[in-house]
Symmetry: C2
Subunit: 346 residues, 2 copies
DNA sequence: TTGAAAGCGCTAACAC
DNA sequence: GTGTTAGCGCTTTCAA
C-alpha cells in the first residue's frame, strides 16, 4: 500500500568493502588517507566506489569526527521598500566559496516571526544550533546593529567570523572581514570632483551608526581643502528621508552633487530630481552605495560604490578554515576595497 | 599551546540521565514520547535538561532515524542588471516556514562556478547531497527553464516539491506550488481598463517560455472583446529589450499602457518614457510583474503583480511534510493567486 | 600495507 | 513506566 516505493538505501562502506574484497577500514583509508594504500588496492577500491556511486554518510561522519561541514548563516528579513538587496549576491557568493572549501550553508532565522524583542530571542537560533552541534561555525553579518550575537558567541567560544568590523568593541579578537566604506565614498567623491563638481553634499546616516561615520569620513577626506559648510546631513535609511533631505538641501545650499550613504538614500535624491524636472547626471549628480539592482536598472542608471562581495565571501571562508584548523590567524581583520560603478547619474 | 580553549563538549543524553537519576532511554522518551513517562519523572528529566541546557545531538539523531531535518535548496546565481530579486524574499519566507516545521535550509550551488554546461553538472549538487543523505528533501525552484532536475529527482524517487508547475510534463506526479501568473496579469490589465485605458500593450517573453505563455493568457483574457492587433510583442527578459520594444510600439501602435511579463521589462519601458520626457502614470501607464525592490523604489513607483511568496513557502513546506510522512497528498498541485501593488506608474 | 575492535550519541525493539 | 541491548555508518586507535 505504500504510495511510492521508498528510494533504495544508499550503499555503505561495508558494501564497497565487500565489492572490492577489502575491509571497511581500507575503504575509509582510500577516501581519507589514500597515500596509505598500495596503488593497486587503491584503484580497486576506487572502482568499487565509482561503480556503487558511494558517498560517505554525512551523519555518521559528523558523529564520529564532530564536524558537520556546515556553516550557519542567519537570514534577516528581506527589507522591502529599500535598495538593500546585497544579501542575495552575498549569499550566493558565500555558497560558492563554501562549496570550494567543502562546506555547505545552513540557513536559519531569529526568533518567532515578529521582530526581535529580547537579546535572548536574537541569540536563540545560534544557541540551538550550537548545542545540537548542527554547525561547525557561523558567519555573522548584521554587525551594523552592534549585533549582540558577536559578543555572545565570543563568550561561548563558538567559532565564527564576522562580515563587518567590531566597531563597538575594538578589543574583540574574532576574525572579521570588512569593506572599506570610507575608501569607497572617497572614490565616489573624487569621481565627482574629477567631473568638475565643487559643492558636493553628503547624505549620511545618523551619527550613532559607525558605518555611517566611516563612510562620511571618506567624503570628508576627499573634500579636504574645500568648504563643506552645510553640505552634510544625516537621515534615516529610507527613500523618503533621502528625498526630503535632498529637497531641503537644494533649496538651501544648492549642491551640484550628492554622495549618499546608501542606494536607498540616493534613490530618494533621484525622486527629488524627478519631481523638479532635473536630470540626474547633467543637472545634479548622484552617487549611491551598494550597487544594488535598483542602481543598475533605474533610468539613467545610478553611479554607486560596489562592495566586492565575492572577495568578502572567499576571505570569510578562508578565515573560517584557519579558525577551525586552529591555525594561527595572523591578521584578525581583512579590509577590502570597493570599486565604483559609474553610470548616468554622474 | 592551544590558541584558545576549545569550547566544552555539550552534554549528552547520558549526562542528563545521570543527573535525573534515570536511564538514557527514559530521557529519550521524555523528549520524543513524553506521554510514556510518569508526570513526576518527566518533570525531573525536564529539569535536568533545562539545567544542563541539553539539546539532542543532531548527527546522532540523524544517523539513527535517517532524517536530517534539512531541506536542500539550490541557489542559482544572483542575476544582475535585472529586477529579479524575488529570491531574497522567497528564501527568507522559506527559512521561516521551515523553522516552524522543525527544518533548516541547506544551501548548495550547481557545478563549478561557470554556467551549467551539461545536465550532469546541474544535477551533481543534488546527487551528492542525496547519496550522502545530507538532506531529507529538496525544494526545486528554477522550473522556468524546464529544469531537468525535477525529472531526474523523480526518477531517483528523491523527495522534492517544486515551486512552479511541471509545464513540460503534465504527467508528473510530484507535489508543486505555483502562482497563477495569468490571474496576476489579468488583475493588472483589468486595473488599467478600470482606469480608462483602451489600447493596452503586452510585453511578454518569447513563446518558448511556458510562464510567458501563461502570463500572456491573462492579458488576453482581460482584453477579451477589445482589439489586440499589433499590441503584443515578445522580448528577452532584459531592460534593454523592454526599452527597445516599447519604443518601437509607441511609434507604431501607440498604446496608452503596457503590461509586462516582468519588472525587468517594465523598467525598460520606464527608460523609454524617461528618454521621451513622458511621465509614467499620467502619460503612459506601466504594470510590471514581481513587485521587486526596483518597482517599489523607482521614482513614481512601478505598479506590479506581487507573488504571495510567504504563502508559497508555507505551502511548499506543508507539501514536504506530507510527502515525508508518506501521507496521501490529495492535490498534487497548489495554485496561489497574486495581488497587485498599485503605484504611480498606473 | 591491511584488518579488528571500539565508540561517537542517539532511538527502535523488546524485556522487566 | 522504565531499563537493557543493539546498531545506525563512520573513523580512530592499535595490532597483525
Amino acid at each position: 500500500m505504500a504510495r511510492h516505493d521508498a528510494p533504495p538505501l544508499p550503499p555503505t562502506l561495508a558494501d564497497v568493502a565487500e565489492r572490492a574484497g577489502v575491509s571497511r577500514q581500507t575503504v575509509s583509508n582510500a577516501i581519507n588517507n589514500p597515500d596509505l594504500l598500495r596503488p593497486e588496492t587503491l584503484a580497486r577500491v576506487q572502482d568499487a566506489i565509482h561503480a556503487l556511486g558511494y558517498r560517505p554518510n554525512r551523519a555518521a561522519r559528523h558523529l564520529r569526527t564532530r564536524a558537520s561541514h556546515l556553516i550557519g548563516l542567519r537570514m534577516s528579513p528581506a527589507q522591502e521598500f529599500t535598495a538593500n538587496a546585497a544579501m542575495d549576491r552575498f549569499v550566493h557568493a558565500l555558497v560558492e566559496a563554501s562549496r570550494e572549501a567543502g562546506y555547505h550553508l545552513l540557513l536559519f532565522s531569529g526568533g518567532p516571526g515578529k521582530p526581535e524583542t529580547t537579546a535572548a530571542d536574537l541569540v536563540r537560533g545560534y544557541d540551538d544550533l550550537l548545542r545540537s552541534t548542527a554547525v561547525d561555525a557561523f558567519i555573522v553579518t548584521d554587525t551594523y546593529l552592534g549585533n549582540p550575537a558577536t559578543r555572545w558567541l565570543s563568550e561561548r567560544r563558538a567559532p565564527f567570523v564576522a562580515f563587518g568590523r567590531p566597531w563597538e568593541d575594538p578589543q574583540a579578537t574574532h576574525p572579521w572581514v570588512d569593506v572599506d566604506g570610507a575608501a569607497g565614498v572617497a572614490l565616489g567623491t573624487q569621481h565627482l570632483i574629477d567631473r568638475g563638481h565643487e559643492r558636493i553634499a553628503w547624505l549620511g546616516w545618523p551619527p550613532e551608526s559607525f558605518i555611517g561615520q566611516d563612510r562620511r569620513a571618506g567624503w570628508e577626506r576627499a573634500m579636504a581643502g574645500r568648504s563643506t559648510d552645510g553640505l552634510a546631513t544625516a537621515v534615516a535609511d529610507t527613500v523618503d528621508a533621502g528625498r526630503a533631505a535632498s529637497a531641503a538641501m537644494l533649496d538651501s545650499v544648492a549642491p551640484s552633487a550628492f554622495v549618499c550613504a546608501s542606494d536607498t538614500v540616493a534613490i530618494g535624491v533621484l525622486h527629488t530630481l524627478a519631481e523638479r524636472g532635473l536630470r540626474p547626471g547633467s543637472d545634479v549628480a548622484v552617487v549611491g552605495f551598494d550597487d544594488s539592482q535598483v542602481a543598475q536598472v533605474v533610468p539613467h542608471g545610478l553611479t554607486s560604490v560596489r562592495q566586492p562581495l565575492e572577495q568578502v565571501a572567499v576571505a570569510l571562508v578562508r578565515a573560517l578554515e584557519a579558525l577551525l584548523a586552529s591555525e594561527p590567524y595572523d591578521a584578525p581583520g581583512v579590509l577590502l576595497t570597493p570599486t565604483l560603478a559609474v553610470r548616468g547619474s554622474s
